[in-house]
Subunit: 600 residues, 2 copies
Amino acid sequence: MPIYKAPTRDTLFIINELLRLEDYGNLPGFENASADMINAVIEEGGKFCAEVLAPLNLPGDQQGCTRNADGSVTTPQGFKAAHAQFREAGWGTLSAPEEFGGQGLPHVMGMAMEEFVSSANQAWGMYPGLTNGAVSAIIVKGSPEQKAKYLPKMIANEWLGTMNLTEPHSGTDLGLIRTRATPNADGTYSITGTKIFISAGENDFTDNIIHLVLAKTPDAPDSTKGISLFIVPKVLVNDDGSLGARNAVSCGSIEHKMGIHGNATCVMNYDGATGYMIGDENKGLAAMFIMMNAARLGVGIQGLSQAEAAYQNAVKYASERRQGRALTGPADPAEKADTLFVHPDVRRMLMDAKAFTEGMRALCLWGALQVDLSHKAATEEDRQAADDLISLLTPVIKGYGTDKGFDTCVNMQQVFGGHGYIEEWGMSQFVRDCRITQIYEGANGVQAMDLVGRKLAQNGGRAVQAFFALVDAECAAAKAKPELASVAERVEKANGELKAATMWFMQNGMTNPNAVGAGAHSYMHIMGIVTLGLMWIRIGEVALAALAAGTGDKAFYEAKLVTARYFAERFTPDAGALRRKIESGADSVMALPVEAFATA
Amino acid sequence: MPIYKAPTRDTLFIINELLRLEDYGNLPGFENASADMINAVIEEGGKFCAEVLAPLNLPGDQQGCTRNADGSVTTPQGFKAAHAQFREAGWGTLSAPEEFGGQGLPHVMGMAMEEFVSSANQAWGMYPGLTNGAVSAIIVKGSPEQKAKYLPKMIANEWLGTMNLTEPHSGTDLGLIRTRATPNADGTYSITGTKIFISAGENDFTDNIIHLVLAKTPDAPDSTKGISLFIVPKVLVNDDGSLGARNAVSCGSIEHKMGIHGNATCVMNYDGATGYMIGDENKGLAAMFIMMNAARLGVGIQGLSQAEAAYQNAVKYASERRQGRALTGPADPAEKADTLFVHPDVRRMLMDAKAFTEGMRALCLWGALQVDLSHKAATEEDRQAADDLISLLTPVIKGYGTDKGFDTCVNMQQVFGGHGYIEEWGMSQFVRDCRITQIYEGANGVQAMDLVGRKLAQNGGRAVQAFFALVDAECAAAKAKPELASVAERVEKANGELKAATMWFMQNGMTNPNAVGAGAHSYMHIMGIVTLGLMWIRIGEVALAALAAGTGDKAFYEAKLVTARYFAERFTPDAGALRRKIESGADSVMALPVEAFATA
């Protein structure tokens, strides 16, 4: 049975020492986040995830979900009861607005909790996770009546929410959807169509599920410009808030997937279901992107979460399993063999995981802070700067974070040798569950195209130029400190590769858009390296200051400095190789006709 | 249902045009390999795999194996019948010696067939595959009586064979094994102990299974120097070859694994089973390595095989699925969307797969030719040179080949988007099955240590120096040809990185062995890049010559030149990054105490 303990020490380090959340107490929405509150939420939230959710993870994978003959879905044993505990403790309300019953804490807090939930049980975490996505769309686009009717129940987790985009022939290309919304006389719409891959689409957690559904009205343009968004409750809600009749939406089947077995991935059939338009007609995609952007950060956190859980188990195994001897001579002569920890190649994998997870955690929580600041910073300029940063980095957090998260899970499984391949050890599940994070909410190739095709050029490149300047300034400052100089030099070099790749895109993209497309994935990875590098410089700065001040816990801060060095030495070299790949262009990528790919 | 068709066109290109197998007709063992024979074996073998084995792959994954109450194991439906067909057609005898009933064809032919078998059904292929490993040990180390008794039946696939190394506390470190071999008065041994992870350990294919088992005699040294190898038949074999009493060996349970569900991975209990020592007492590890080296090449082929199968399905999906529009404007304006093929990032993944699988196929078959030449070349010098090369490259073929094979499966799954995550499409299975190849027969970190810790230094570095010279000479020759110059320059540069990394190991390894260990995995990958690069230069040379000669099939050879260029542009840049990682040394890898890895 795999272990899990929330990394509260590291999370509190990031929130309190790196982000210094308390310093923002003058801003609206941050005043609730006192030091005591932060510590209590992180400690208690971490405990809940470790004690209640984690033990259900492996059994949930083995049991999976069952669709019953009546179309209802039974989730794995214990899932529903755990959700009742989650709901009662209010864990789903942390960052939700107070006016709808939330606790009004910064997103940073909700994001930290999301990591713990997902590490403990990704499949379970997706039930409240999708609800958060739906909530965010209703907050921004819902009418006052819609907000009043749905948000308090959804935020309280009394009802769950889902996102219905994909259809059998329409995934990334939402312009192809066929689900129809026919207006009724009373202002509602009649929704008909089939949606697939609907996570948490049907389940036994709550009395009601609020589906947000993309559909086309009769005269809508036949493209992404003709998509509208609808609220389609599983059970209709009366004006007094009580539940009414069952709506004409049902789960047709559930998928057999590689992982996240505990989450019901449903085919949803809408047979003239009553729907309520949310936002403007034909503007559904914009509303959808509100959900998507929130969801993409959440998926980035999932990539981290599986890497963290896998890492914890690999550390435990490597420190207990004895096999072979240290290359430098027996480390434990009294034993018949040394632990796996003595082997440099095992260490390499563990240090890779440590450098990634700690850096990625800093990046995700810093990203969540930018979401907060984009709404709540004191000046328009500050809000704009935060919004620029998080818009630019959302595809990086999602795409790079989940690619590296998956690689980390695979490496941590590798530490176990043959035992890693046996399901009862749980390492296979981390790999299988993590794999979906590279695919859903926009496959990582789509993230890369979002980054290079949309985000780079927005507002004349304002966001990326600000990012370059930010990294250069912090590298310059860190280079002045002997303990951080070599780290800063390597990150600065990687930033140089990123700038060069950006320039290459500018020079070649106009004449051949494929040149940008063929380099997009590599570009996203360089930016991931630079962004984590920025985090490691900042972590190094905080560690240095703490050591200088003698604040105690010396070993913790010294380990941060070593890990920063490891990151610089072992992650940044890839930036140069990725740039060379980008600069080789699209010719050899696009040259061959389809027939040339047949092998037989 | 996934598709599979044997890549016979490419295999025949490699055998006939790249390796020019016919040119070796003067050597013993090659005379049977006429052009007609080669073509017939490849075409018919490929057909058998595609038509008989491939359709059983997905159902076999879903059904898995069942251990019955009496300890017998039932394999998935159709597996046993397919084996009967395989046996009757003699597909298992291709490269086996004629004196024991084999067809005496070069290993190249057996290796080509192994790829097809494994692509079609990896779990199934492991049953005869393990038998081959056991056969190779008996051929080299068995007494004349043992050979006569076991080899004809095993080669004919009337009996299967297994390899029993691992115990619960003893995986990579075989010095720790506890299985005991107590001598009996009649010269046999009584074998007692528990072996785990025994692939094909028990099954319903044949009447008998010949287990090769590592165990310790009573006074053996308590290390790898005290291990002996035993033949332990499931059913004892009388002197006249008939089956006698059931031996005291049984399957205690079968594992629930991430993949290869169709192969029974058994816990094998030996309770005073009768065993026959093979080879000399305490020299079992040497005998084991005969099996292991054969098996490691076979595992490299498995990595390729899953990548190939996944690639074929991704090509099909990408050419049928319509989603989005080409960046350069609609490719199929009459359709509502273009195929996935127009998207540069999808192409990138497909070209990665094409460059890897075609290059890796050349490498594996060339490697198999070296195995043949190491035994059968005309001069001792040629035999030595071939043996040096294949010894050096075996860990690269296994380690790099399976790492890249797995990455390729993951990328091909990614081409399918959400559908790749659904089991019925079969892409998950390729990923899950391929994952074991990085682990078994020596995890890839162990391969890397074998390469840098053993193979590099053997005979004063003779093998690696010869390899460097070989690559440099072929790069120099190719640079003279305009069509190959840039490919050769990039491969030469990668070879330069490899030489520099080798030098760095020599300069730092003596004072700090961990410096070598910390760079071993990166080193293995650079050598993989250079070796595939060598193959692509050779493929390019052959393609150029064929185009110049106007031999027809112009598109095939032109595609080879484009793919060579793609390989050079997109694979070789990593060599420089990997060298930089190696040269960062072991300091930051080894600096932290175990306690620093705790996250909570």
